[in-house]
């Protein structure tokens, strides 16, 4: 589904790249974990495959179409859904409106369907009493579940998550990873999670470690 070819990135000095000549393939219905220490470039890699930045060299292909061809805005709108460590929900909206807004922007097939959004939230443990409450009044775990629900409501086949459990306790972490596994296996989406927690990575189908400017497959 998603393929990188000769991907490389550096900030100022080409001689000191974060990573270089990365050739990876990510498939639908699978979950991937990218491990690495802080500053190794795993989040930068995620920003490239999420269409938030352009690679310095190489290319990324979605179903054999270059992201350059697709266009980054178009790609972000229709093909990729992102979950952030800080949730990044619309803080002036309720969980329900967060989902409806995302569905409207991404032209999702269920756009405008309140019932569908409500069901997705309920499935993720956000009850009817919470769905119309302002998201700022929800706990961190609840907010992250709303963020995950947002990715589920959109039609994007690729879900990327940057340290999605970074702010969560053990129980919530387990619950969130379960949800990502469901997205990958039940919704047949490709889930790529960037994390520094080996326990989280261990729950994914595939694990890569970014070290010495290269991705090393762990399992």
């Amino acid at each position: 589904m998603l393929r990188t070819e000769g991907l490389g990135y550096w900030y100022q000095d080409k001689e000191q790249p974060l990573f270089q000549d990365i050739n990876l393939e990510f498939e639908e219905g699978q979950s991937y974990a990218i491990l690495g220490h802080s500053g190794t470039g795993k989040t930068t890699f995620l920003s490239l495959i999420a269409g938030l930045d352009k690679p310095r060299e190489g290319d990324i292909f979605l179903n054999d179409r270059s992201l350059k061809q697709i266009g980054l805005t178009n790609y972000r709108r229709h093909d990729v859904a992102i979950v952030f460590q800080a949730y990044n929900l619309f803080n002036y909206m309720s969980p329900l409106n967060n989902l409806l807004t995302a569905m409207a922007i991404t032209d999702a097939s269920h756009a405008g369907d309140r019932g569908y959004a409500q069901r997705v939230l309920n499935d993720l443990g956000i009850g009817d009493d919470l769905i119309t409450r302002n998201v700022q009044r929800l706990s961190g775990g609840q907010q992250q579940r709303v963020a995950i629900a947002r990715t589920m409501c959109c039609d994007a086949k690729l879900v990327v998550a940057d340290e999605p459990t970074g702010n969560l306790d053990e129980d919530n972490t387990k619950e969130v990873i379960d949800q990502f596994q469901r997205i990958a296996h039940e919704q047949q989406k490709c889930v790529i999670i960037v994390t520094h927690e080996p326990d989280v990575a261990a729950r994914c189908d595939h694990q890569y470690r970014l070290e010495n400017k290269q991705f090393v497959r762990l399992a």
């Binding site: 989040t43 930068t44 995620l46 920003s47 999420a50 938030l52 930045d53 805005t73 178009n74 790609y75 972000r76 709108r77 229709h78 992102i82 952030f84 800080a86 990044n88 929900l89 619309f90 803080n91 002036y92 909206m93 409106n97 807004t101 995302a102 409207a104 922007i105 991404t106 302002n134 959109c154 940057d162």
Partner: protein
């Protein structure tokens, strides 16, 4: 059009911020509206001034031509014993009538003044210690007869058209004033002091005695009593009779007293001009109808004074509108820039979802538009109040400035008010030290501040432009924002 919904949700959810924005926008728009209202009121006031302030055109003897004639006759004359006389030709009413037919003439007032002696009554006497009732004030013309009376007879077409009455310096307190229909009658209007001193009231008759010719007596009928605001003889000059001894009558009666050769003539004729802006064109047309013995002078100083004053107000209002609009745009732009900085994560999320940048800008614009619509309503109510306060302040300042400047400029000489009575001399000489300045009769109109649909539409346009510009200035930041930099740090 999801951004409409987002805008609404944001405005509704962040009520405190929205209220603050509404207050700031209301204040800006209120001052813009005040400026707009003052400007339109000033324009309206200038238009009104054309009819209300008016302008006058006076037909009188050409003093300059008469003086030249006197000089040439004195140089050609061999006899050095006789002093040359300045002879002014009385205005022919037929000439006045032909001028009155000009399109810009509203009406006219014939003035013919003379003096008579009291017969059946006593005149009001004021002791000033400066001598008796000698003839001719400093601005008056030399009389054709050396004798003068103790009663000033001001013959007019209508008292309502004389400056004393139009400026409310004199007011009818009983009966009525002299009207055009009093032509050929012996009806008179006397001053209140004269009336009370002689127990005269409306309907009574009094007898006056001519000062020239056969010196015959004449019975006149009191049809009205007026009160002059100033009856001190000092105000009319040291040489004149007490103003309370001034009797208003039809010009025909004044002419009768002056003598038969004055029939169908006048000292001067004052024409009220319909459109003061065209006063000089009317004067030009009028000059073509008269001979060089007469001269036409225009007095549109009232109109010019009001016009200048209103132009000042209008100019200042314009400056208010633009200064407030520019300052408002800058203030709103700064607020929006701060708002955008505060909401950069939201923008990042929107960009990460693939939202178009223009739609993000449109969301901010819609939010501000909602704020502006409410602010417009508030400004619509408050703007009238601010406009009234500001407008009256401006008018009073402007009036002070205008009166000061016009009072200073018109002091030496002026437009021919009587300096005193002088037998059968003609009213309104070339203006001596006794002439009053035109600024004295200038009355600036109050600004009528009213909010019209046009004003609100114009304010809406300004509001929209301010919002649009402030969002455009601030959106430079939105367009430069990179989602990666915002979301992944």
């Amino acid at each position: 059009m999801n951004f409409f919904k987002r805008a609404w949700l944001n405005v509704w959810a962040k009520k405190g911020r929205s209220v603050l924005l509404i207050l700031v926008s209301s204040a800006i728009l209120m001052f813009v509206l005040a400026g707009l209202l003052i400007r339109s009121a000033a324009v309206k006031a200038t238009e009104t001034a054309k009819t209300d302030a008016g302008a006058t055109m006076t037909l009188s003897a050409n003093r300059q031509a008469a003086f030249k004639k006197m000089q040439s006759s004195s140089s050609s004359s061999s006899s050095k014993s006789s002093r040359p006389k300045l002879t002014l030709t009385p205005v022919k009413l037929s000439d006045a009538k032909s001028i009155a037919k000009l399109s810009n003439i509203k009406n006219y007032n014939v003035t013919s003044s003379t003096t008579a002696n009291a017969k059946s009554y006593d005149t009001v006497s004021t002791s000033t210690g400066m001598g008796g009732n000698s003839s001719g004030g400093p601005g008056g013309m030399k009389s054709t007869s050396s004798s003068s009376g103790d009663t000033q007879i001001d013959g007019v077409t209508s008292t309502a058209l004389t400056t004393d009455f139009t400026d409310s310096q004199s007011k009818i307190t009983k009966g009525r004033g002299i009207k055009a229909s009093d032509k050929g009658t012996n009806n008179v209007v006397i001053e209140k002091e004269l009336a009370s001193q002689n127990n005269l009231t409306v309907g009574d008759t009094m007898t006056i005695k001519e000062t020239t010719g056969s010196k015959s007596t004449l019975k006149v009928k009191v049809v009205g009593i007026y009160k002059a605001s100033s009856t001190s003889s000092a105000s009319a000059g040291p040489m004149s009779t007490d103003p309370a001894n001034t009797i208003y009558a039809s010009y025909t009666l004044a002419n009768t007293i002056k003598g038969s050769k004055y029939a169908g003539t006048a000292d001067s004729v004052t024409f009220n001009v319909t459109n003061p802006a065209k006063a000089s064109a009317t004067k030009k047309a009028g000059n073509k109808l008269i001979s060089s013995k007469y001269s036409l002078s225009t007095d549109d100083s009232s109109y010019q004074s009001i016009k200048a004053s209103m132009n000042n107000v209008e100019g200042f209002a314009n400056k208010i509108v633009w200064l407030v609009a520019i300052a408002g745009t800058i203030i709103l732009a700064l607020i929006v820039i701060l708002m955008i900085r505060e909401r950069r994560f939201e923008i990042g999320v929107l960009l990460s979802l693939g939202e178009a940048r223009w739609k993000i800008v449109a969301q901010f614009f819609t939010e501000m538009l909602m704020v502006i619509v409410i602010a417009l309503a508030i400004a619509g109510v408050g703007g009238k109040f601010v406009g009234n306060q500001l407008g009256s302040q401006l008018v009073s300042q402007s009036t002070t400035t205008q009166t000061t400047s016009s009072g200073t400029s018109s002091q030496p000489g002026g437009g021919g008010q009587p300096g005193g009575s002088g037998g059968s001399g003609m009213r309104g000489g070339a203006g001596g030290p006794g002439s009053t300045t035109s600024s004295a009769k200038t009355k600036n109109p109050d600004l009528e501040i009213a909010v019209s649909a046009v004003d609100l539409a114009e304010l809406g346009g300004f509001g929209l432009a301010i919002t649009f510009l402030s969002i455009m200035i601030a959106s430079g930041g939105i367009l430069r924002l990179e989602p990666k930099k915002i979301l992944i740090s």
